[in-house]
Amino acid sequence: MTEDFDTLIRQLRVALGKQEVALGSINEAIVFIDPMGRIEWCNAAFDRLLGRPHLQLLGADLTGLFPLKKGGVAVPREKHPARVALKTALHFVEGYEFESGDQREVFNLEVCGTQAEFGEGNKMVVLVVRDITERKRTEEELARSNQELKKNVEELQLLNRVMMGREHRIVELKEKVRKLEKEHGRKKESGR
């Protein structure tokens, strides 16, 4: 029995250790929150995003440490994804902006919230935060390029219309010149 218990503990330690290593090596920031909104655990990507030492984050109120904006406007505490996920059992994905205190940099974030309940009243929330700043920038650049391309096409179409009009006029003028030359030739013939 003791041997089985030791084996079970060892297996669980290895499984948990692997989880920690795996979650610590991914780029997405992950944070667990208790029903009070306190950080129970977070991975290395979350430490990096907030630019704070890991131990300063544990036990801290997430909404205070991780203020978010939407369309440039601060998200009120009750609408913070941590609070929303604690109140509702719905899985959601929302876009936010986050201004890093140290680097003075604005990040575009995609935040996924999920609530889970483990036994009686043992509720927790998992937030997965993906930095989509680069993707957003690329999308904006692509939109700008599209706009520019559209403008250029319109200008080309206009120029094409002008050129076609001119070409038509040149044909007319050439015809006129040809007629005049012909007439001039005839007059020259009769004058001899």
């Binding site: 030791d6 503990i9 060892r10 669980l12 330690r13 290895v14 499984a15 948990l16 250790g17 692997k18 989880q19 920690e20 290593v21 610590g24 667990f32 208790d34 009070m36 306190r38 129970e40 655990w41 890991h54 131990l55 544990l58 036990g59």
Partner: protein, 119 residues
């Protein structure tokens, strides 16, 4: 650097030792005074008895990672962390945690110096 043997001889600061599974194997007299646990009550109990509930996941994941990989992140440095007494009172304390291999297994020791009362 304080060794686990030195921690075992410590008489002024609370000390707790634990085995590779995270079970408490030794506490000293100052520990009993600060935490309110008697030796017979706390020996053999998981270390989580000394850690606030909201930090249990973090402790279990970090402890498991260390015993699995042997790569420390919090050892051999002074850390300001919360601890909890038998009565459930949380307090801030300076922790110094050390791990040593003894007969092929990790043994953990910590000095826990209270630095004030928290709410």
């Amino acid at each position: 650097m304080t060794t686990i043997d030195e921690m075992r001889r410590e008489t002024a600061v609370p000390v707790v030792l634990a085995n590779h599974q995270g079970f408490i194997t030794y506490v000293n007299r100052p520990f009993k005074e600060v935490f309110g646990w008697q030796e017979e009550e706390i020996i053999g109990k998981p270390l989580t008895h000394l850690i606030p509930q909201y930090l249990h996941d973090s402790h279990q994941l970090g402890f498991s990672r260390f015993v699995t990989t042997g790569r420390p992140t919090l050892l051999n440095q002074v850390l300001r962390l919360k601890a909890v007494t038998k009565a459930g009172r949380e307090f801030d304390a300076e922790h110094f945690i050390r791990a040593e291999q003894q007969q092929g297994r990790w043994v953990f020791g910590a000095t826990i110096r209270p630095v004030g009362q928290s709410d």
